[in-house]
Structure formats: C-alpha cells, structure tokens
Symmetry: C2
Subunit: 436 residues, 2 copies
C-alpha cells in the first residue's frame, strides 16, 4: 500500500521530511577493491584488464579483441530489425537537433579602458562513455551520452561496455555507430574506468568519462576524478507528477510506474489538489501492477518510496516540488506553463498530460541524464557543456594597463604578493618613462 500524505494533516511536515530523507540506496563500500583494480590496471595495462574481464565477465580476450572489430559492429547493426533501427535514427536526430542548440557562443569585446576581454569554448579531445552490461545496457543511454560529446566536437569517442559471457546488445552497437563513436571496448567495471582514465597499450586515455554504472563503476569514477573529468554520480530514478482532477488516472498511474519499474530504489510521487483523484490514481497503479512485466520491482519501489500527497492548491504543490527538486517533473494541470514558472528546482519538466516522461527518455530531444537525489538544487542534466571548456582571454593596451594596473598593484601589495605587484609596476614605470 502506497503512502498517502496531506498538507492538511498535522503530522504532514514530519511525514514529508521522512519521505525526503529516506535512504533509498545502500551503496556497498567497494572503495578498497576499486583502488586495487585501478592500481593494477595502471601497473599492468592490457594484461590486468584482460585478467579482470576473465574473472568478472567470464570472457577470454586478447589485446586485439578488446575492441569490437568493424566487421563485428557491421554484423550487429545489420541484425537490428528495421523498426528498432528507424526508432533509434529518429531519436538520434532529435537528440542531435536539441543539443546543437546548446552550443555556447564565444565572446570578445573592448571595454572603456581599452582592455580587450572575452572567452572562447573548446571541446575536450577525447571522451569515454561507460555503458553497463546486462539488463541495464540501454541503447538510449549511448545516444544521450555520445551525441552531446559529438556535437561539442570531441574528436575521439570511445565506449566501454561489458559483455558478460560474451553477450552483447546489437542496439548498443548501432546506437554507438549512429552517435559517431569510434571504438567500442568489450570491457566493464572499475577496470574499464581505469583503462579510460590512464590508458593501456591498446586503450587510449581520455579526458572525460561519463555514463551510468554499478557501485564499482561509481567508486572508480570518483577515484579518477581530477585525473579526468567525470559527469555526475547518478542515483536511482525519480518522478514527481503534479496533477489536477482533469486527468485520466490510468495515464498518471503508468507514468508513475515508468520510473518505479527502473529499480526498487526508484521514487514516484503524485501531488494533487484533489484527494479523491489521488486515490483513483493509486487504484489505477494497483490495476496496472497486476499485469506489468517488471511488477516485482515496480511494486517494491511504489510501496517503499512512492507517495500520494494531497495539497490545498497548486501553489503548495510548487513549493513542495522545490523541496523535492525532482529529476523528472510532469505537470498535468490546466495551465502547465503557469505552474512551471513557479518551479525552481527540477532536472526536466514535462508540460501537460500529452508529454509522458518516457518521451524524454528516448526521443523528445532533451537529455535523459539528469540530477537525482535533490541535486537539481545545484546541478544540471548532461549537455554539450560537459564536453566543452572555456578559456578566458584578456589583452591590455598600454592605456588599459595605465587605467587598471595601479589598482592591481595596490591589491597585490595588500595581499603581500610583491612579485604580483612588481609585474604590473615594471610595465607602469616604462609607461611613465614614455616607453609604450
């Protein structure tokens, strides 16, 4: 039975706080194991990667078989049925079009002092994308990680995707090809992250590593952070649906389940201003659970972390939403734009009942890699910005230095950084001698 809360209930604040702070995921402490794996890969390169793959993935590789060959990728792509291929192509085109609009502009200007200022953006040279194996081997994640990198202009894009027992999802290879990925390695775990961060004889080191993974992969990404850039460490998926009574309870029930089915630790919450409608949605969830393939997972998530919250009005809903800072937020209300304007913290907003969250997972265009666990308060989903970096530019004319330099010298001396001050003073002295 899912939890029902109401802001009219005197114990609401305690119940809502408990919902917010529920520990949904127990990360096993694998840090020591991961540290050993990384050290091994750094010391022994390919040999370590091959041994660890034999051990963890029951797969015997040689250096020349670490990567899929072009012929293997060709064969896998050819094996994908037309409907799936066309769906992937449509998704890839839409994701590319959306992310192309994210490219930031360079800037350059001259200010009143005569100083030329600005910045410019450049792509990282090489990026590595981790794709989990087995059940969580999602071709859509390949598109969502690799296409922003390709749009940013990353020259070398590699994927590491473990193939336990040799099993591979052909759609993953097709998604890689559609995204412009150069090389797909059939390795996984902390050893794959270490190989991408430090390089081996066969595997080129990259500058940035993104993509989801299990506790070993997450711990490895944390460890190599600094040596390379990483994306976020994603937690279990979340959806918040804010809905008025003028909705089909079944639509919202299935939307809530679309996140609950990901993981027993996922969290699905409905906020509504109509208690009776909330009960109708909860009933529809139970009906859908009867037949859902992944009902064991979805039912556990809904029972343990789901909630139906009744509020007095949509203003209350917006305020609660900002406290949740949801990864995914559906606004199924008469005026979703107006409600959206009152929301500040959310990874992605889906406006109106004709926009199920699943559209955003695959083919809407925006990225599906989004901040979880309330981190939408301070972070954003994956974008082309994750594969770009900014260099600031400054050029002083002698006149600009004359205008700005004395302040810099004063501040340097006040911070007891004499050489900083002298580097300005030496030039100002030349100017005072008429030497520009």
């Amino acid at each position: 039975m899912v939890q029902f809360l109401s802001t009219e209930n005197p114990d609401f604040e305690a119940a809502f706080s408990a919902l917010l702070s529920a520990k949904r995921e127990d990360s096993p402490d694998v840090d020591a194991i991961v540290a050993g794996i990384i050290a091994d890969v750094r010391a022994r390169g390919d040999a370590a990667v091959i041994e660890l793959t034999a051990k963890f993935d029951r797969l015997d590789l040689s250096p020349d078989r670490l990567a899929f060959s072009a012929a293997e990728i060709d064969a896998a792509c050819a094996a994908v049925p037309a409907a799936e291929r066309e769906a992937l192509e449509l998704a890839a085109a839409r994701i590319r079009a959306y992310h192309e609009r994210q490219m930031p502009a360079d800037a350059r200007w001259t200010d009143a002092s005569g100083a030329e200022l600005g910045w410019r953006w450049t792509p990282v040279e090489a990026a590595g994308l981790y794709v989990p194996g087995g059940l969580a081997s999602y071709p859509s994640s390949v598109l969502m990680n690799a296409i922003p990198a390709a749009v940013a202009g990353v020259e070398r894009l590699a994927i590491c995707a473990p193939t336990p027992g040799g099993q591979v999802n052909p759609l993953v290879l097709l998604a890689a090809r559609l995204s412009g990925v150069d090389t797909v390695y059939r390795i996984g775990g902390a050893q794959a992250v270490a190989a991408m961060a430090y390089g081996t004889e066969t595997i080129g080191a990259v500058d940035k590593i993104t993509g989801p993974g299990n506790a070993f992969v997450a711990a490895a990404k944390r460890r190599v952070f600094g040596k390379v850039g990483i994306d976020m460490i994603a937690g279990p998926s979340e959806i918040l649906v804010i809905a008025d009574r003028d909705n089909d309870p079944d639509w919202l029930a299935i939307d809530l389940l679309s996140q609950a089915e990901h993981d027993e630790s996922a969290q699905s919450i409905l906020i509504t201003d109509d208690a009776e409608f909330g009960r109708a949605v909860a009933a529809a969830v139970e009906t859908r659970l009867d037949t859902l393939e992944r009902r064991a997972i979805a039912a556990a998530s809904w029972r343990d972390f789901g909630a139906v919250i009744t509020v007095r009005d949509l203003g209350e809903a917006a305020a609660l939403s900002d406290r949740i800072a949801p990864e995914h937020l559906e606004l199924c209300v008469a005026d979703p734009e107006a409600l959206s304007a009152r929301i500040r913290h959310a990874g992605a907003i889906f406006l109106g009942a004709w926009t199920p969250e699943a559209i955003g997972d695959y083919a809407g265009g925006p990225n599906h890699v989004l901040p979880t666990a309330r981190s939408a308060r301070f972070s954003s989903g994956l974008s082309v910005m994750d594969f770009l970096k900014r260099t600031t530019l400054a050029r002083m004319s002698p006149g600009a230095l004359a205008a700005i330099g004395p302040a810099a010298e004063t501040l340097a001396m006040s911070e007891s950084l004499e050489a900083h001050g002298l580097s300005v003073r030496a030039r100002l002295d030349r100017l005072n001698r008429g030497g520009a």
Copy 2:
C-alpha cells in the same frame, strides 16, 4: 638553478614528461579526521563548531558571535585606507561587468513535429564561500567567488573565514560587503564546510560551496559533494609564458616569479624560440630573487618545478602548451592572437606583453579561480554557470506525440521497460480513438 630543456635535445621527451608528471603536492591523508569532524557537526551543530574553533583557531565563540555583527563589519570597512578601498571597488566593478556577460540565455522553440522544447536557467538559492585565514586570506578571492554568485542571482551568500586568535583582515570584510555577501562567519576548517553543507542552529545550510582551502577544507568539500555542489579542488598555481626574443627579460622574470611566490609547489615555465633569450630571463629571475620579499618560497618553486624550454618555433610551443594545459598562459609574442588560435587547453590566456598575469588575479575582469594540474583539458574557471542550473522543458502536442511517440514506444520495449512504452501507448490509443 632552474632546469633548461630544448626540443632539439634527444632526451627532451623524457625530461618534458618528467616535468609534466612531477608530483608537486603531497596531500596529507586527513580524510578520517575530517569524517569525524563532519559527523560531529551534523550531530551537535553549533556546539561542535564552537568547540572545534576553540581548539583549532584558539578563539572562544558563542552562537551569537559565530557571525560578525553589522557593527563589526562597519568598523572594519571604515578602517580600510582609501587607496585599498578604491582598488577593491574598481576590481569589483570590473569583475561584475565581465561576469554579467556570462549569463546564459533561456531558450524555447517549436520544432517541425509540433513539439515545444527548450530550457531555462535558475540560480541556486544559497551559496557558501570559504575564505582561508592567515596569510592566504585574500580579499581578491572574495570578489572572484562571491561576485559570480551574486550576478547569477543567488539570494543568500555566506562566507566562512577563520580568524585564528581573533585576527581578521578588514579588506576581506570590505570585499564581502562590496560583493553582496549577507553574512560572514568567523569559522574555518572542515567544521565550516560541514556547517555550510548541513546547517546548524545558527548557520543556514547552503546548496553550493566554493573557495580555496587547506587539506582539511579540500577533504571536507570532497566528502560533502553530492549533498551540496562544490567547485573544483584547486592545486598549486601555475604559469606558462611563451615569449619571443623581443621582450624585456625582466618583465617575464617577474611574471614567472608572480606565480612562484604563491607556494613552493607552484610551477613557472618559460617557453621561447631563442635559447639566449631564455638564459637572459633565467638570469633576470636570479636578480629579482635577490630582493624579493617572498624569495624563499619563490626560489624553491623555481628551483624544483620551474623550467626554461627552448623550441624550434612557436608551433612547437603551442603543442607543448597543450600538453601542459596551463592554468595561466601569457603569450608575449609579436602576434599573440595568431598563437592563441593554435592553443586549445588553458584556463586563461593573457595576450601580449602588456598583459601581466597579475592583472587577471585582481582587476582584469575574468575570474582568477582556474583549473590547475592539467585539468584545463576538461574543465573551466569559476563563472556564473557554477551558480546556475538548467531545467530542460518539453511539451508534446497530440500531433507531436503521434509523430514521436511510436519511436519512444519501440525503444522502451526493446529495453524491456514496458511501463515506459505503455505510458506512450495509452495516449496513442486515445488519439487513435479520436480522443485528443
């Protein structure tokens, strides 16, 4: 004696690699101590912060004295001499003007399918800025961290600045006031980071923590990352100067020393296409070192990590620069714009000999918080973006869902995520029944 390298020397590659990989900083492993401090502050709040401040900063506080009072800040600001005040005001105005240009634009469009897509940016609600105590208590860092936050629209800005033995730098308090900081707490170390991340009875929790600090502060920031956002973990400062012979060796010598004086672990490198000019700069460094206040620090940095590299031409210089990926890069050559265009990885570029790096530390306008330790390959300096986050927006019309939905359903089913597929299917079925 500083190290001399030449690309014409057969052992250049080995020497250059050694220079790149020199371990310049030994971070003491304080993680266990920091974990204990964070747990203590979470459990006991103000009481723990006060006890730890008495212990580490020899300062007795009470909850009502954790923050400076308005009267204390007024008095400190009034004590700042006019020259320093005016310099700070000029720097603040220039930094604000530069960062105001960084504000990214929201976007919204309707594509050919009828789908409305876009994104919008919102500021984090509260940010906390760490300012080290003692010698490294730099008012310029207050401006560089707080002004981008204020420009981004952060409503609540707090500073934690330890005051060992009660000593405070009045310029820090003036810089805080000029930057729009609401509250300055006289606490530091891991306890300050814990208090900002989790809040205490007196200190409000923030969403993002930025600013430099010692090993305890760095370890604490790593630990609270995820609960709040953090900026980078900065390493020792670096400068690379690329110069032709048509420069005053003394100018470049003092520029190299302006980073060397920061820290014995700092790194200053000159690349030139004229070996004789390189020796002249090295000689000028020695001359300047004779009289520099911080000569002990600067000489150690220059001796242990400095280098003068002779190259055949500026193309080689650009290639080596990208391998260094310097925090600060000065281009003192005839055509700095042309050389800049060949550079890809650098935190900040200073164009032409009239632009000493120190201008950028104080009053140029760009931020002085920049990526170190080769991380300019994948990351950027501090900016207003660090205090903003993006929410993606999507709105499907029934027609857009009809166009895009089948692909999403196909992909969901191929990933065995049935509820994802059903959430689209339920709506498509309504459409097929004419129910839009």
